[in-house]
Symmetry: C2
Subunit: 293 residues, 2 copies
DNA sequence: CGATGTTACGTGATACGTAACAATT
DNA sequence: AATTGTTACGTATCACGTAACATCG
């Protein structure tokens, strides 16, 4: 039983005769006649009675006809679905990102979606192999490392890593502090999953500096402890407890920043839509976090 | 796009590789590989990416997969429907009969149907070509003529044609009256579509007798007029207005009766169910109309 | 090497068209 | 005669299997 043969059956039933159905099927009458008989043999049903040199639907055929029609309409729907995909439709979009990013950035962005936007789905990432998620169901990956390989990419935003000190600290009047200066103190940092921590760890490792870290599961708690004068909080969020913000500069003089990058496959069938979506996300992030540039 | 190729796609997606899918499809790996590529060309979709000597679903393929699965499940449903028909299922049963019979007999019978019985449908018949309805959608025909041809048949019941006279009529003490006697009087008859009228007309025509008929669209009105002494009502229903019932005998001495016959195709896929249904109908009619024999 | 998937080539099945036939109207 | 559907026969297509090749772990 194939779609073709089912189509032949419906054509004959609709046209009322094999001869008339040839106009619908574009095959010759004997071929059509044979296919029909074979379908009957295959299904084990007598769909038509042959009498008086004519075909008339049997009750079995009459009962099977709507079933056959339904199957054909599903086949049409399948072809239509393929066409929509080909045209780049995105009924759902799956965004993969570290859990922190999903909560802090992706989720608020999804909250701005309208009814015509795709249904958002989400895929939490473990730190390693961020962009491999593109092969495991993600349409879009938001990562902190610049994507490698043949992915399309857009830098979304970058957030400075802040070192927060008390207003009575000796650095309170400065705007920046070097990494080398910083590691001389007790540092209050969030967990290794956080963006700030990862950026900080990477910079420290590059510089080969020893550090004394105290880890907090919440960066706000880290700030509170800094406000108590027990160390310097190195976090990425906004200041609390009247703490003073210092930017952190690396050995090469750059300000230590957390980069957020969006990546997707340029061969994705909805790549155009994805690019638009990423632009919206970029604008959203910059508006929300008041980014420069 | 055929069911076979769609099945190949789903098999490969499920198995994770072409090689593994050969266990599901029972064709060799190169053939499967080719069919898959052809499906991609036909749909215009890149369902898998070929990289690292492996296939991985693209977002397009991931989006198409549930659609393909749905089509296959519909195909299974279609095959299952064919199997049910083959086994003789009757989700609906279409009974064809003259409108009078549908109202007076078939409809009350349908009222006794339980939830497991087929959904009843109905097809009004014109008097001529009663049993031709079997080719126009009827599973079962209830007719007044004995069916001809190769149909399966069961006599359902027969109702006498009654001649109703007033209690003060000269015939009031008799049980029967001959057709020849009857036609000497003014006769009050129902419309030509009714069973009684048709049986009466046929008998009269056979006997070659002249008649004086007054036609009423309701046999109860005919009885009322007979009660008024304006003629003899020749109808098939039960007496009213204290009229006296006489059976009508033909020239050959038989009592004039209306026969009801059920007919269906012995090749009908649900012929067994139909036979049972007809037996129920027969019992129903006899119980309800208190038939002899 | 042992997986993978693709390409090449030959074969068998089969869907198809042309032609001839049979049966009704 | 004109229409219907079936049978017969030859052909072209196409799905399939075997084999050889390419690539990656």
């Amino acid at each position: 039983m194939e779609l073709r043969t089912i189509g032949y059956f419906v054509a004959v039933a609709d046209a009322g005769s094999v001869s008339a159905a040839t106009r619908l099927t574009h095959i010759t009458q004997p071929s059509l006649s044979r296919q029909l008989r074979q379908l009957e043999r295959e299904l084990g049903l007598e769909l038509f009675t042959r009498q008086d040199g004519r075909l008339t639907l049997t009750p079995a055929g009459r009962q099977f006809l709507p079933v056959a029609r339904d199957l054909l309409s599903r086949a049409d729907a399948t072809r239509a679905a393929a066409a929509r995909i080909r045209a780049g439709s995105l009924p759902t979009v799956t965004v993969a990102a570290p859990a922190v990013t999903l909560n802090d950035i992706v989720a608020p962005f999804f909250a701005t979606f309208g009814p015509d936007d795709p249904m958002p789905r989400v895929l939490p990432l473990d730190a390693s192999d961020e962009y491999g998620a593109l092969d495991r169901g993600a349409d879009l990956v938001i990562g902190t490392r610049p994507p490698s390989g043949t992915t399309a990419r857009t830098p979304l935003a970058s957030f400075p890593v802040n070192a927060y000190v008390r207003a009575d600290h000796e650095w309170a009047g400065r705007r920046e502090v070097t990494l080398a200066e910083l590691v001389e103190h007790d540092l209050l940092v969030p967990t290794p999953e956080s963006h700030a921590r990862r950026a900080f760890d990477a910079a420290v490792e590059t510089a080969g500096l020893p550090v004394r870290l105290t880890e907090f599961s919440s960066s706000q708690v880290a700030q509170a402890v800094a406000a108590a004068g027990r160390g310097i909080a190195v976090v990425s969020d906004d200041p609390r407890y009247d703490l003073v913000r210092l930017l952190v500069t690396t050995g090469s003089g750059d300000v230590l920043r957390i980069g957020l990058h969006a990546a997707w496959s340029p061969h994705h069938h909805g790549a155009a839509h994805l690019a638009v979506l990423v632009q919206r996300l970029r604008r959203f992030v910059r508006d929300r976090y008041d980014q420069p540039r």
